[in-house]
Amino acid sequence: MIGTVGAARHDGRRAFALTAAAFATGLALGATLVFGALGLLGEAVHSRFLVLAAVAVAAAAILSDAAGLRVRPQIHFQVPERWRRTMPLPQALFLYGLLLGTGVTTYVPATAAWALPALGIALGNVAGSLAIGLGFALGRALPVLVLAARGEETLLAERPQGMRALRVLIAASLLLALVASEVQAAGTVAAPAGDPSVVGADLAWQQPGVGGFLSRNGVKTQLPGNDPAVGGALVAWHAGPAVTVAARDTLAPMVQETIAGAQKLAVSDRWLVWRSGRQIRVQPLSDPSRSALVVEAKRVAELGRPALDGDLVVYHYSTAAGSWLTAVNVANGTRRRVRFARNAQLLNPSLLGASLLYVRASRCSQELRLGPLRGGKDRVLFELPPLASQDSGHDRGHTSQGEHVPCPHRPKPTTRILWTTALSDTTAYLTILRPRRGGRTVPTLIAVARR
């Protein structure tokens, strides 16, 4: 390929540039078509199994390329040679690029090439998959174009250690990408910090014992109160019973009132919602003199922190008989149970449009889930092991036949607890509680890419 592209140099720099551009465009287009389709497929069938399988393929590819093993499997096909004789060179190079860009129609120089389609599907995201594809296209185009421009057609063939070094480099890049994606997938925003609330680039949270904070484009501002919430163009906080609703951009107070026992707030352009004791109440911002009950918890039940998007309030209701998430339209009073579990705990939902983010703690795992508000298939954005260990399932000295353990894979339990959530267009925010002495917990606020 280096020789074919390099041949254009004989017709002048302009012809070479045109040929190189055609080759690069073909590569980019081929990669876009294939990896775009893989991204769409991944969005449709996203699952943990796919992610694990892709990571396993990537790990095998890293080992293979780092150790310089023979690249397997291989597709025993080469681009049609006659195209360079029967077509204008830019057209032939464009078509060669198109074939090479797909990554799956010819010999591949490194095992890592097989990991890329797998990762493209596993990402479950078209943009991410396209980024992988374009990176692949760039990686294929650069050596060809650079060596063709320098007229070093036989360099790679004469110095195989160059290809060996390239494969080690590819393995290192793939490893780095995997590690970086894991780091980027769940990064700490602030600690100790919890109870997030987000609108666009504005993120508010509570620092225990200190107060509320608002972060805008990375600039952190302490608010004059606790339990801040952002929504619409507004921000709310409270200092004891004194509740303030202010403009989000200027922090200029718009409504100030006294609400006895107000603990957790949620705000939108039209409504202020708060939890106090065993009740969640709502108040129209146009008429602070009246408020209405949204829900009241019965004895031995717990109400979660309310979240508000437009006219819709969501909250969890947790009892020993089951737990559920309810959405209430505070404008017309309609309410709907959007999730229910008899043997798992559903906690602290947040809402953005038709998307619902919440925590599901079950016997064998704790999950941060994102799914359609009206129900359907949820995606797991973040996962921790379960909160309790299990025994062997049989008495000491007895046979294991007949035992029935709750989690067959025997996960190692954690004391960390998934807690409150917030949802933006790009990011899911999550509080993780770490138990300390005396039963108290310390929160850490993390961000998880929605993908």
Partner: protein, 189 residues
């Protein structure tokens, strides 16, 4: 003639009575000990997966593993008898999660963390495997110095949790044993 012991009887037919009596004693001791050890091994090999259980029906699904229950059928942690919720966490009397020191877990505001569901073990088995659960009868055995009540979780089922044919056990009215649980009483034995 004085009554001979078994070892003496083994050696009685020989003239070197004293030596052979001792040798016979040794032989019987070795073979007897071996028999006892073999019997214990056989007992272990044939034993079921928890003390007091007979037959081969498997445990009911339980948040911790061993199917220990309280007198109302709710799950207890087998190792220490602490009540647990469906997530397997130790809880207080009203179902709120506690830490290893039995102190109530609280959120950063100091409020107790919410209770998780807690389901009777037989009820949970019925939900998971799709039958109407009933507890009909029970039997008792002495385990670890206390009377253990062994409880059948019954249902109108043909197959038990193991996947093969269910037995009648202590189930009535045509119901059969789907899985088994136990309740450790405080009565010494």
């Amino acid at each position: 003639m004085p009554e001979l012991s078994l070892t003496e009887a083994i050696a009685a037919s020989t003239s070197r009575r004293g030596f052979l009596a001792r040798a016979g004693r040794l032989l019987l001791g070795v073979t007897g000990g071996g028999f006892l050890a073999a019997a214990l091994r056989a007992q272990k090999a044939e034993a079921y997966h928890f003390c007091g259980h007979i037959y081969t029906t498997g445990s009911c699904p339980h948040p911790v593993g061993l199917p220990r229950i309280d007198r109302n059928g709710f799950p207890l942690r087998a190792v220490d008898g602490k009540p647990v919720d469906d997530l397997g966490r130790p809880i207080d009397a009203v179902g709120r999660p506690v830490d290893a020191r039995a102190e109530l877990l609280r959120d950063p505001d100091g409020n107790p963390l919410p209770p998780a569901p807690r389901t009777r073990v037989c009820t949970a088995a019925g939900r998971e495997f799709g039958f109407h659960p009933r507890i009909d009868g029970a039997w008792y055995r002495c385990c670890n110095g206390h009377v253990r009540k062994l409880v059948d979780c019954c249902g109108a089922v043909r197959d038990r949790i193991n996947g093969d044919a269910a037995l009648t056990g202590y189930c009535y009215s045509g119901r059969r044993v789907f899985c088994v649980m136990y309740y450790d009483t405080k009565i010494k034995c």
